[in-house]
Amino acid sequence: MDTTVHHGAMFDTDELVLNMGPQHPSTHGVLRVVLRLDGETVVDVDVVMGYLHRGIEKLSENRNWTQIVLLTDRMDYVAAATSNVGYCETVEKLMGLEVPRRARYVRTILCELQRIASHCLWVGTHAMDIGAMTVFLYAFRERELILDLFEEFCGARLTYNSMRIGGLPLDIPPGWDKKVLEFCRIMEQKVGEYEELLTHNRIWLERTKGIGVISGPDAAALGLCGPTLRGSGVPRDVRKDEPYAAYDEMAFDVPVGTAGDTYDRYLVRMEEFRQSLRIIRQATEGLPEGPIVGKVPRLIKPAAGETYHAIESPKGELGYFIVSDGKSTNPYRFRVRPPSLCNLQGLRRLVKGHLVADVVALIGSIDIVLGEVDR
């Protein structure tokens, strides 16, 4: 091999530099991971990204406030509605807008549907990376149902542009809530189906238990967030800690892991499926009547000021830091705190000392979307 690093040892051992990605089936996009291997053990790893950098922050600073909703779709493209909600809520906070209760309920439903869709994609690809390919197709079957619901709601299946500052663009179609409840009924069983294939599977246990262990304080210090952090036993969930939309009216639990390994992160997300279904049921059954848009000025032009607002995206804490100079119709500074980026930062720590096969399992376990990492 050409790119070997020599270092003096008794049995002259070579380290192999292996480039995983940006075109590799299990880097979930255009992530590039440069591995330094001793045999198959990872000695060090460098994460290279930016292949999907589109400058969404810079772009947003040159678009007016309503146009940005559309750009947020393109970040976490498997959970576009969540990104929409996060942005709209930040602007609402900046402007002091009141959002009607019905709109907040629908936002909650959409966010949770989106969480299930995103987790479906995660469980499918994660299992696929570890070699269980059937789960992938099962999960995509159910994700399809969610996409159908979204299509009925806003006409799009991937990039929804489904929020407006101050509320919703349109009310839910008639009968949609019935379909959502029906979906909840189906999904409840299907989650059990995934778990049956994986949770007690010996090979799955061997592949995930004790892999990429990180303690709670370490995970928090490294800036991990979302299910990746909760897998380490830190009960940090923006929905509970800093409630937004209608989460303060919902009853749900925040599942946490104990061991902080890949298996616990898996269990946390599987439980989140159920909790999300619980939230969707409550929100759909208790959906209040009323307007869907609050009192929004015709020209959105917040007064000078800045704020940071975070929501719980399927990946973790999705924050927006927005500065308005009060003079123009576009934000002065638009900054996204991407949860995938923060989780990806933990990869190096998680991977060291494990084998190549575990790198793949760990990339899956931190659940990244490169569109959001690179923006």
Partner: protein
Amino acid sequence: MIDSFVVPLLKILVVLNATLVGVTYMILLERKVIAWAQSRLGPMRVGPYGVLQPVADALKLMIKEDITPVRADKWVFTAAPIIAMVPALIVYAVIPFGPEVSLFGRPVTLYVTDVNVGLLYIVSVASVGVYGIILAGWSSNSKYPLLASLRASAQLISYEVAVTLTLVSVILVAGSLSMVSIVRAQESGHVWFAFLQPMAFVIFFIGGLAETNRAPFDMPEAEQELTGGFHTEYSGMRFALFFLAEYANMIVVSSVATTLFLGGWLRPFPNVAFLSFLGIIPSWAWFLLKSFGFLYVFIWIRATLPRYRYDQLMRLGWKVLIPLAIINLVVTAIVKVMVH
């Protein structure tokens, strides 16, 4: 002249062609079964229910561009798929598809030949097949294939030990190395060896999965880790040869398992007169049916289980299967001596 030359040649021709057709349809079977397991339909477009898909696949692979990487070792790169394919095919020489039958008024044995070291022949020829994988990985001059080929060779050598040890215990019970004699021994012993040697049967099956690089032991071609493994750099017909070899090996393992443990061509309960109506189905059909059962389980496992990690696989081989196989062998030997 006819008996010593023409008939064997014809048999070879038939077996080779049947194998190749079987292998291509094996791929279709795999795609279909996995599709059904995943609530899909599988190939449906080429022919009714996709039955002509193998033909289309073969055509596609043949007319695809054949790429040799610039920095590859050209000779070895070309030879590797052939080295992988040939052992997988010549093994069929000693597999007994059925006993002697009368065909066009002349007695014909339904196997190409019966070597007195038939079982060892299979093992040794199969052990040469690993060269195809190692050399493919090495000659590609690329990192992923190299890693994959290292994995493959380590895996094959480890599991070969376990598999061979289980075979020895079967040989002890049967008292012969000839495939035909082993089937005859099951007939005269009134029992399939799967029941006499259950542990050997299980170890052989697991080892067989590992030796054919099938899930959950498909480490060498783990596409999610090594982007396709040892055949990453191959394309066209050379790539197809690797595929054919893998499926041919699967059929070999199923056939050997059928012969050794499930009574080969014998119908169930061959000595119970009450069930003689089962004899309507010819012997070779029983053989194919049993082998097909194995193949189905192979595919089923692939659709269900995640993949082992490389070190776990080695641990399973060396710390579980080989000791178990040795214990099984020793116990078999002791029992055999006591019975005598």
